[in-house]
């Protein structure tokens, strides 16, 4: 053991912790975040991923809308953290402040079709009232064999039509995926904006479905990070190691 160095290191660690707690605390307070979000994060997003996110294009009307929403005055997220599913088969980066995280099976009509990552500042509210931002990311081989990305969006749009004003569909592509996304406005009582994306790799091996609630410019940046970082990196059908 290197006890001689510990005494030197401890105060430095204390200082480091203080800085992280103080900085993240102030940022989260600005976003109305919970005390639960004061955990130091792995700042793992590479510069190339961040650059890709910064280039992601959204329709101008969506940009204008979130820019004009009152929440946009609340600043930006403190950073992005890496999430993986239960089997490390899928990964995505989400804002540090989305600390309510769930992973598990993607169930459709009670049957497992793939894996899921969900994250929000409050998932229950994200899923029930759309009044807080958050993301659902599901990956499935089963659905990829049955649906194209746009066909999956059609299904999803039908499910969500009652509560949303559909505004259009956009195409996006990067080095790994070909995808499309719907964007809708005035969703739910809170009149939020929702982006639903579906993407496949060129070989069509799997499909990824993403749903994001966007309340602010910061959330739109978060959506860009999600759409630039999601990836299936392992065997979706695998169990534990």
């Amino acid at each position: 053991m290197r006890k001689s160095n510990i005494l030197t290191f401890l105060p430095l660690l204390a200082l480091g912790l203080f800085v992280v707690v103080a900085l993240s605390g102030s940022r989260m307070a600005a976003l109305g975040a919970r005390p639960a979000e004061k955990v130091p994060q792995l700042a793992q997003e590479s510069p190339s991923l961040a650059a890709a996110a910064s280039k992601f294009q959204f329709p101008q009307e969506l940009v204008d809308r979130v820019t004009n929403m009152s929440e946009s005055a609340q600043g930006s997220y403190s950073g992005y953290m890496r999430l993986t599913d239960d089997f490390e088969a899928m990964t995505v980066f989400v804002p540090n402040e989305w600390q309510d995280i769930q992973t598990g099976d993607w169930l459709v009509q009670g049957k497992k079709v793939g894996n899921v990552i969900e994250a929000s500042s409050d998932l229950n509210r994200f899923k029930t009232s759309h009044d807080v931002p958050g993301v659902f990311v599901g990956a499935s081989r089963v659905l990829a064999a049955q649906y194209s990305g746009p066909a999956l969006l059609d299904l999803r749009r039908g499910e969500a039509a009652a509560g949303c004003e559909y505004r259009g569909q956009m195409h996006f592509t990067d080095a790994f995926y070909l995808g499309d996304y719907d964007y809708s406005m005035n969703c739910g009582a809170e009149k939020q904006n929702v982006i639903v994306a579906a993407a496949k790799p060129p070989n069509g091996d799997h499909v990824i479905l993403i749903q994001i609630v966007v309340k602010s410019k910061a959330d739109l940046d978060a959506a860009a990070h999600v759409l630039s970082t999601f990836q299936v990196i392992g065997d979706l059908d695998a169990g534990d190691h």
Binding site: M1, N5, L15, G16, L17, A36, L42, D122, N203
Partner: protein, 984 residues
Amino acid sequence: MKNRRLRQPFISRTEYRVEEFCGKAYSSTVGESRWRARPMLLITVAMLMLLAFLPLKNGIGTVSAEAAGQWYKTDTHVHSSVSSDGYADIGINSLGQSLGYNALFLTDHNGGSNYPARSTGATVNHVTFEDSYMGWPAGTYGTIGSTTNALTSNPHHTGNNSVHMATTSSSYGETFVYTQRGPNYRNGDIIIKVSIYPVRIDPGSGLDVSVSIGEDPTVVRNPTGYTTQAGVVSPGKSTVLIWQLGTTRSPSSDPNARVLTYPLGSYTLNTWNNYTINVTNALNDIPLADRPMDYTGLSRLKMTAAGNNGTADAYFDTYSIDALTPETPQSEYIYRTGVIDDFNTSNFVIVPSYEMGKSKHTNRFDFGIVQASQYVSYTNGSDGILPTEQGGYPAQLNHPGFTITDAETVSTQAHGADIMEVRDPNHIVDWDAILQQGVQVIGSWSADLHDGMAVGKPATYIYAPSLGLDDLMHSLYEGRVYNALNNFSGRLIFNLSTASVEPFAARYPVFVPASQSTANAHLQITTGLFSGDRVYWLVNGTALPGEPPSGGGYNVTKSISLSSSTTYVRVEANTSSGTRRAMTQAIFFVKVPSLPAGMSYYVDRVTTSDNKDYTKLKTKGITASSWNATNSLLSVTLTDPANALVSLRVTTPSSPVSVAVDGTNSPQAASLAAFQAATNSTWFFDSGAALLYVKALHATSVADVVVNFSGAPLPTATPTTAGAPTNTLTNTPTSTPVVATSTPGIPMNTRTATLTATQTSTRTPTNPPGPTNTPTVTSTPTDTPTPPPGGSPLFSDGFESGNLSLWSQTSQMVVQQQEIFTGLYAARGTTTGAAAYAMKQLPSPQTDVFYRMRFKIVSQGANWAYVERFRTAGGTPLIGVYVTQSTVGKLGYRNDVTGASTTSSITVTRGAWHDLQVHLHVDTATGTGFTETWFDGNFVPALSKSEGVGTTATGKLQLGDAGGGYARDIAFDDIAAATGFVGP
């Protein structure tokens, strides 16, 4: 002596951590002088800041301030690149500390790099591509115009198939196959061989084979990264080595995304070209500052067709990558021991641990081996549980339902493991099924990570006095633990009441009066719950209605219904969609007959002399107890390592007169502080809290504690405390019985007279009456009528096969390893009510059967428990040997033909192995017969007498009890039957 490699001074490693916490780049470094130049004032201020803010970070200021221990966030199951399927090296795993982890148990696989890949069975030191995609997923990267990726038999070079890959792109695009892992750099030269059949390579396009360090960004967007030889932990950093035909990727000197390219050689279209690549030579081309630690493995090995404003089209076959001098697992783990603590700090440790088994995975947490002889390998990790426990440390059963079936997990009670993973729904179902058997297994959450740390993963939080392995194991074993996601900000304090700020040691049950219908349990969740979350209390596996949190927390004392002799309660905090955010351990309540209302007791802590042996094998706490209403005596038998100090709590309205340990009165402590400081047996009564504190120091592995509330002298024959034989009678025959000479087929009719003689024995208590009645379990007859072995063997089973295959019918009987008499296995019937038995059909009916067994009553309810029975071949019962209910515990038998029972004065101590042999003679002519019984080597006259059991000979032997309706837990070993006396 650790095998240390050359490494950078420690200060360089702390520097990156400081930067990490400051939010700067991980891989950059700060000059040593910068920190050395800091004035002491800065240090002092920083310490003050730490004190001010840590409670905020932990959210448990009051708890950690008042309690002796503190919470440590751990993951009991993490892999590194030492595992053949792991990407993250040890340095990358150390980033877990930035998520608040204090300890990661690095449980690399059995075999390390030689652990066979699940998909291919190959080890990372020998990977091949031949004929199928197994272990070689297909992928694309970039802009693809058209792509082909298919197996084909024409052409192929070896085997049956090659893989045909073609890419056409108007810019840059790849079609590839890849495999996950290759060798690390400690196994000699790494050689790739590959055969390529190029069809078309347009200018600017090409074909290649490649390997990466830290993962290839054309396969994963965000590479795991790696640790450099200088010890710089660099998440996201990648170095890719590419050997090309034509042109594929461009070289890059970016230190965080370096690409080194090499020509593969010349080629001829439309024919097979064979290539050999020395990867090791290329590794030396990496600039020194970017070279990886030698235990970092090659990853994402590719074969690629890349179109760049054109087309590349080829067939690939006969790929192999080999490490020429593979390191043995022994050497690999010894080396790991030497480097595993490189990233430890005062508040974060990576513990050298081990996932045992190619199947039936289990974890051993003490695997910092330094000698080859210490390395162990198991086909089934479950076989490593017992040796781990024998080595002094608890073992964990991993991921039930994967590598081990759920059914096997339940039927073997997690194979006797001390801990089991309970993070997934099926794990929890299995856990409840085991808990419902009255068996405590501590549940843990772990992420089983192979790819580096991420947020939202399951974690195990341990309340311990320090980060030392022994302290962590102590607390983990005793159950001062809760489970939650790694970003859960609150604490779960689960105990019996608000009076305590520490978690209850769930390993040990709370003993309560049989008349008590409810008991309180208290849960405080300090914070961390969300709006839709619900808190569920589960009693014996049945959930009560969910309750909402209050302000992100929860603080409730709940009255638990004690509807059965054993009740357990545990709590889950679940999300709105039903997934688990956090959960407690299970606290057991066990009813004790005749215990007065208002009294209860439990073990608070066992502290062994060397702070080891916290295992089911050694540290058992209370193994028997009873209440003597006549004399107001509470008798408790403890079974723990010799010299262990056991801390007990007894809820009682009145102070005892004395507390004796092994017959000697303990001194009363003058204060609670004095009690807490004591290292010997003592006691203290807190009248205000109505709580008796007792410490008992084991002289041997069994300690008997008698709490005397009346002051009355103990009776001559103290009752019959299960496992606490306070007054064992000794058989002293006054005449020497004739030794039975067992002759097959010849009834030993002469014995009647002999047996009559033995029944005249007088019985003299070995212990004189007294207030401190010293327990004695040894029965020392002056003359033991034990015959020599003889006759013909009929059957024997020591269960060393690991199963019950020799038995014709079984129910609730399992073969297990935690309760054994000899060898590695024994049978065990554990039930809360169902029949628990095994049947053996003898080859042919026998008039004389000597039935020998070793048995141990682990626990028993308020009913008789049969340990064996003689039956006819058709199953009709003849004689059943039983032990009376737990408060009495006498040996007896029932003549099933006449219905008459005979109970001897022999006490069967609980928690101890006994030797029982019963001879049943059936006179098939007259219907008369007789029995002979030996117990612990001593002849038992009371159970050796004439018994008319009809004229049908014994044809079937029963092990255990085929009756139901009551709880018992009995282990059996060394079963044997013969027509004559069965020897040792």
